[in-house]
């Protein structure tokens, strides 16, 4: 983002490199039902992140020994396009995307009434077209809208957002440069209705107080995203709030 190495990531008047306040999110855009062939789909922009999610199912699960007799199996595939980052990303799953796939699945599963769809699979695909930090969160946000768009029964939508530590300040929704040059990153996913957290990670160092502040901030971000998710679903059926 900056042409030259900036001396500091937060200016004297407390603004970030992209002009945001520490507790300010990047602009968000969400659309539901963007793919014709998928049972449910969504497109999400968070800052310069561009992400598409597709949901298939519930459908028959093969091989049969992987079926669960009492519930659906949720499968999640997070993938980054080779052109999604500055340096070409080698295509295919790597250590990082396998990890993100696993935890995204675990972040969404508590929201789904999997017991209604025994012996089936619900397949979720998240494709990152352009990455700008916080793709795992934007991916979960998109996947949750795609699940609701597919008509799958859920307790709540799952909204996700990150907080981070940059130049000693706790900030909401770090962008690419802050993520790369900051001290810590805390992605968080939650079901906003009850405030239940379904994903919490911390990459970097923070004091317990800083972590608490980061969680508070990320939760605030999730609530903003949650509103956008619901608006996107309602907009699909012609109801603008």
């Amino acid at each position: 983002m900056p042409e030259e190495e900036p001396e500091r990531l937060i200016s004297e008047d407390g603004l970030r490199l992209d002009g945001r306040k520490p507790d300010e999110m990047r602009p968000i855009k969400i659309r539901a039902g963007v793919l014709k062939r998928a049972d449910g789909s969504a497109y999400v922009e968070v800052g310069a992140n561009r992400i598409v999610a597709a949901v298939y199912g519930p459908r028959e699960l093969h091989p049969r020994h992987k079926q669960k007799p009492d519930r659906a199996v949720v499968r999640f595939r997070y993938n980054m396009a080779p052109f999604s980052v500055d340096e070409r990303k080698r295509p295919g799953p790597d250590r990082r995307s396998i990890e993100i796939s696993k935890l995204s699945k675990e972040a969404l599963e508590p929201a789904i009434f999997t017991e209604y769809y025994p012996r089936t699979a619900i397949d979720i695909f998240v494709e990152v077209l352009q990455a700008d930090a916080g793709t795992r969160c934007a991916g979960i946000t998109a996947a949750s809208v795609a699940l609701a768009d597919a008509g799958i029964e859920m307790r709540d939508l799952v909204a996700a957002c990150a907080a981070g530590k940059v130049d000693g300040h706790i900030v909401l929704d770090p962008m690419y440069y802050e993520d790369g040059h900051g001290e810590a990153d805390v992605p968080l996913a939650m079901m906003p209705k009850e405030g239940e957290i379904t994903l919490l990670q911390m990459d970097g160092d923070m004091t317990p107080e800083e972590l608490k502040k980061a969680i508070r901030l990320a939760k605030k971000g999730c609530k903003i995203i949650y509103k956008e998710q619901r608006r996107a679903l309602k907009r699909k059926y012609g109801e603008e709030e």
């Binding site: 519930p58 609701a148 008509g151 029964e153 939508l157 309602k234």
Partner: protein, 239 residues
């Protein structure tokens, strides 16, 4: 002091997790409760009737329910059953005892004598067990149409949640289509629709029926659809 409080209006679009009502209400399909709070579990239209509240889904898979008339495609012939695709998450089974009146010697008989892979059938959902194993029957006496193999004609798949629209209020839409197009139409609750023309030119009539059904699916949210379609059938025919 009211015994309950509604948080949404009738016909409002709601999303999963949205609070619909609190207090002494009857929570019906598409909802779940926590204490005395009622939430939606799908994306759909809130439907409030008196103190009964439900959500009509706007998308979603077909969920077989006993008594449903469905149109299925035979996928596999087994020793004593047929596996039938009814567009549910899992295939349904049709057992010989629910398909044939006469006794058959299963050792001697290959069931594909009666129904083969690819055959289209009209059937009734007989039973759905807790793990969603679905049993069909083509021997139900009181079925609204003749059950069993459907020959000739064509099959159109539409979104299962839009089936009520194809039928219309008290069957008005489907009656109009049958009359105007001179076709026999069987609407499966699973969103699979079988159409067969009664008069020549058959394939043209059937193609027009398919187009009309697609149009209903596309315009399902509009009011006065039956009338619109009746007056636009001729235009559709010219496309």
């Amino acid at each position: 002091m009211p015994e309950y409080e509604l948080h949404v209006e009738d016909r409002e679009v709601v999303t999963p997790g949205e609070l619909l009502a609190e207090g002494q209400v009857v929570a019906s399909d598409g909802t779940y409760t926590e204490g005395d709070r009622v939430y939606s579990k799908v994306t759909g239209l809130a439907d409030i009737q008196g103190r009964t509240i439900r959500v009509i889904p706007l998308a979603g898979p077909y969920r077989p329910t006993p008594g449903d008339l469905v149109v299925g495609v035979v996928r596999e012939v087994r020793f004593s059953t047929w596996l039938v695709d009814i567009r549910a998450p899992l295939p349904a089974t049709l057992h010989v005892s629910n398909a044939l009146e006469e006794e058959v010697d299963l050792i001697e008989t290959d069931l594909s004598r009666y129904l083969r892979e690819g055959d289209v059938i009209a059937a009734v959902v007989k039973e759905v067990n807790p793990v969603q194993q679905t049993e069909l029957s083509i021997l139900e006496e009181d079925a609204p149409v003749r059950l069993g193999r459907l020959e000739g004609g064509r099959v159109v798949d539409i979104d299962p949640v839009k089936v009520p629209r194809v039928i219309g209020r008290e069957g008005s839409m489907i009656r109009m289509l049958k009359r105007e197009l001179e076709c026999d139409i069987i609407v499966g609750a699973n969103g699979r629709i079988y159409v067969r023309a009664r008069k020549e030119p058959k394939s043209r009539r059937e193609a027009l029926a398919a187009r009309a059904l697609r149009e209903i699916e596309r315009r399902s949210h509009l009011k006065g659809l039956t009338e619109w379609l009746r007056s636009n059938l001729r235009r559709l025919a010219r496309w």
